[in-house]
Structure formats: C-alpha cells, structure tokens
Subunit: 237 residues, 2 copies
DNA sequence: CGCCATTTTGAAGGTTTTCAATGTCAGTGG
DNA sequence: CCACTGACATTGAAAACCTTCAAAATGGCG
C-alpha cells in the first residue's frame, strides 16, 4: 500500500512535467529524466487569480517560480506610491532568484496565473549533484538582464510616442504574432501601461488615440488590438 | 630550459591572482587553489586608456572580463545617436556574459582601466570540471539585474532632482565613502551623467548648481565633490 | 597667454504632467 | 428593461518640468 502510494506520487510528478506546457522553455528543461524526477518532486504548483500578490518586497526569499500560465508583473515602489513595472514575466520565465536573501520587488498576477514553485534551499541542495541547473538559471537571468537594459534605453531616451510603439511591438513579439497585421490582447490596463513606460495614464491614452486616429492600430472590445501598419510602428519605435 | 620556462609561467599566473586586488570580489573568488591555477592560465590582462572601446554592439561575444582597475561604462545607442548608459562597472564587476552569441551593447573605458579577460569558450570548457563557476557568474549577473531594475525605477519615475541625488549617493556608496560628509571624485563628464540619468547636459548642470547653491554639496577642482548634507540628499532621492 | 573642450547660464519652446470633467462599459438592482 | 453605480478610459485646458537653442564662462594644457 505504502509502496503503491509512493509509486503513484512519483508517477504523478513525472506526468506533471511531461504534460507541462513550458517544459521546453522553462529553466528545468536542461534536466535529464533522472534529474527531472528528483526535481519535479520538489515542486509545488499554485494558481493565482487576477491582482493577487505573489512576492512582496522585503520578505525573505524562500521560493523561486517558473510561470506555467499567465502573465506576472514585477514592480517597484517609491515611498510616495509612484510605481514602476520593471518586468513582465510570461510563461517559461523565471520568477525570483536563488541568490538574494530577500525579494527586492513585488510580483503580482495579471489575470489568472499558474506557477510552479521550488524552495530556494532545495534548489541549492539539488545543484550539488546537478550543477548545470545553475547554468540554466544563469541563462534565464541573463535574458532578464538583457531585457532590463533594453528597457533602460526606452525609459531614459525614448519619447512617449516611441515608448507606446515599442510596447505594442513587445507584446506582438511575446504573442508570437508573426502576421503582417498582428492581433493580440493587451493584458495591461492603461495605468499599468503607464507604470511600465514611465508615463501617466493620460499620456498613454492620448497616444493610443493618436495611433488609432492615424490608422496605425485598431482596438476592439476586450482590449484586443490589431497592428495595422507594422512597419510604420517599427520605424516610430 | 623548457621545463624551467613552463614553471616560470605558472608561477607568474598564480602570482598574478594572488596579487590581484579584486581576487576577493571578482567572480573567480570561489575557485580553490587548484581551480585558480587552471583558471589563471586562461586569463589575459589588458589595459585600456580613457575612452577606449572594449566591446562593440553586434560583435561576436568572444570574451568576458573582470575589471581589475578603473570604471567602465556600458551603453546602448538609438539609431539617431541618443545614448543611454545602462551600467557603470567597477572593479570586481563582470564585463559581458557567457550566454549571448553577440554583444548587445558598447563598453568603454572611463579613465584608465585594467581588465582580466577570459575566452567564453574556455570558461565553458572549464565549467565542465568546475561547474560552480556558473553559480559565481550567476551571482554577478543577478547583482547587475538588481541594479538595472533599481535604475528602471529611477529612469521611469524620478524627477531630475531626485535622479541627481540618487546618482551622488550611488557614487558615494561605490566609493565606500562612509563618512557623514563623503568626498569622492565624479568619474563622469556632465554629458555622461546626462546619458546615465536620461537627462540633458543642461538639466544636469542646473541641478548641480542648485545643490551647490543650497549647500547640499560642494565641488572642488578635478571633479571632486563633497556631500555636505547627506541626509537631505537621501531624503531628496 | 591663448586655445579648445567642457560647463554654466539664460530665454524660449515643447512635451508631458496635472487637474478637472466627461465618456464608456459592465455589472447590479429596481 | 432601463437606470444606477463604480471602475476605467478619454479629452481638454493650464501648468510644470525638461529640453532646445544660444551665448558666455570656466578650466585644463600646450
């Protein structure tokens, strides 16, 4: 009975990874079957609903996660409440890190999110026999660094119009919308777009209106947007 | 003769690391004596003079470096020449990465710099027998990511005045100036400060003038600066 | 001393923000 | 079914902040 039960749990774990939609892009993808078996046994999957907090700045860094479904916004706050979104994390992206003693930002679900969590301490134990997991985490971290630096250029040097154009192209890219007229859902509210682009909600709204008037984009119900003139948008960005 | 020569070279390499001023903070610090011996044999030290280019965007990523002396600015450019400094790298900091196929930014020496280089391919070979080097690189990369995200908040949400204050405090911190009235050299020209803070040179100059008039800072010849009212500066930032 | 790069300062202008009001839309209850 | 509500988005007008353009001042160095 006990034996059967253990076997059952292990099967479940392996099934979980085998059926995981991000198994080929998450940081765990480098593991072989043996490593994955051990690794999957360490994981806990959790579902968050819209606007739920996942990490809080200042709290002890106990868990890292891998996003399975949904989008997570990573943001920082100033004392007076001004907010800056420093990253949007999509499925396959790593949430948190295994280095810092505490979280240095907030993470919040945008819409429903499914996240696969690991204890930081257990990852480090695991790494003793599977050190390549460090390289895999490094790869993910390096991507985030590269994205962050691209965004520094945007925040520091681009105009509002250029920022909005870049934002739309980023979303098109993240949605793998390869058509000449990509169509996708904008997952952020106007205020969140503003907090991502370092603008006010009014400036965001005005620039969206301009793009719509100039027929560069079209917006349908439910925040669906179509990029009508992709090349023009690219040259603006 | 050959034997003697080989031994001489190995001694030189070990000496190099033993006398290295950043041996306790660079990413190579985790290596034991054996690892360090092999590692140091892979390294090449190079000296750059002021304004010399170290990396160029788009070039194949062949080398990573560890800064031994001096400061390096990492920056990105827009097509029309607008520039954004995305990082200032100090002694002990890692330059470049071992993941990307090519450099995605420019790196330029600020003043004279001494840098210890390693071939990316050789680091990866080395890691096969010393995988913990990945964790060490991860730690450095993670720091850079954290700094980049702090800077996103600054660029996106702070006023010019707050930016200048934050910049001064950053320099004080990097100079380990723990006095109540820290004093240090500003290594950047006004234009570079502007490119770091997402401002124009005139705005930077005006805000420096304001701080000087309000006796918050004092500036001496040779870009030496004293923070007179540290707490005020902190509350402004 | 004079040159050149750099910095500072002034005045005008523009972009973005702020403040305020209006508009839209989905959900709720009369 | 439609009015009401509250959250979110848009629009307008004025103000603020930062930039742009221009000129003067400073400072290092031959």
């Amino acid at each position: 009975m006990n034996q059967y039960n253990n076997h059952f749990i292990e099967s479940l774990n392996l099934d979980k990874c085998n059926s995981c939609p991000v198994s080929t892009i998450s940081f765990c993808t480098i593991l072989d079957e043996h490593g994955l078996e051990e690794f999957s046994a360490m994981s806990t999957t959790k579902i968050y609903s819209d606007s739920e907090l996942i990490f809080t700045e200042g709290k002890v860094n106990q868990y890292v996660g891998s996003i399975i479904e949904g989008i997570v916004k990573i943001y920082k706050l100033l004392d007076d409440g001004r907010q800056q979104i420093v990253s949007l994390a999509f499925p396959g992206d790593l949430l948190g890190n295994i280095i810092d003693p505490e979280y240095s930002y907030f993470a919040e679900a945008i819409g429903q999110c499914k996240i696969c969590f690991y204890q930081v301490s257990r990852i480090n134990n695991f790494a003793e026999s599977n050190p390549l997991i460090y390289r895999s985490i490094l790869t993910k971290t390096n991507e985030q660094l590269s994205d962050a630096r691209d965004w520094l250029l945007l925040l520091g040097r681009k105009s509002a119009k250029e920022k909005i154009a870049s934002f739309l192209l980023l979303l098109a890219d993240r949605n793998n919308a390869k058509s000449t007229q990509p169509r996708f859902k904008i997952p952020l509210k106007r205020q969140e777009i503003a907090d991502f682009l370092g603008l006010t909600i009014e400036t965001v709204s005005r620039n969206f209106s301009n793009f719509k008037n100039q027929q560069i984009i079209r917006e349908q119900v439910g925040h669906m947007v179509t990029i009508v003139d992709f090349n023009l948008l690219k040259s603006i960005s």
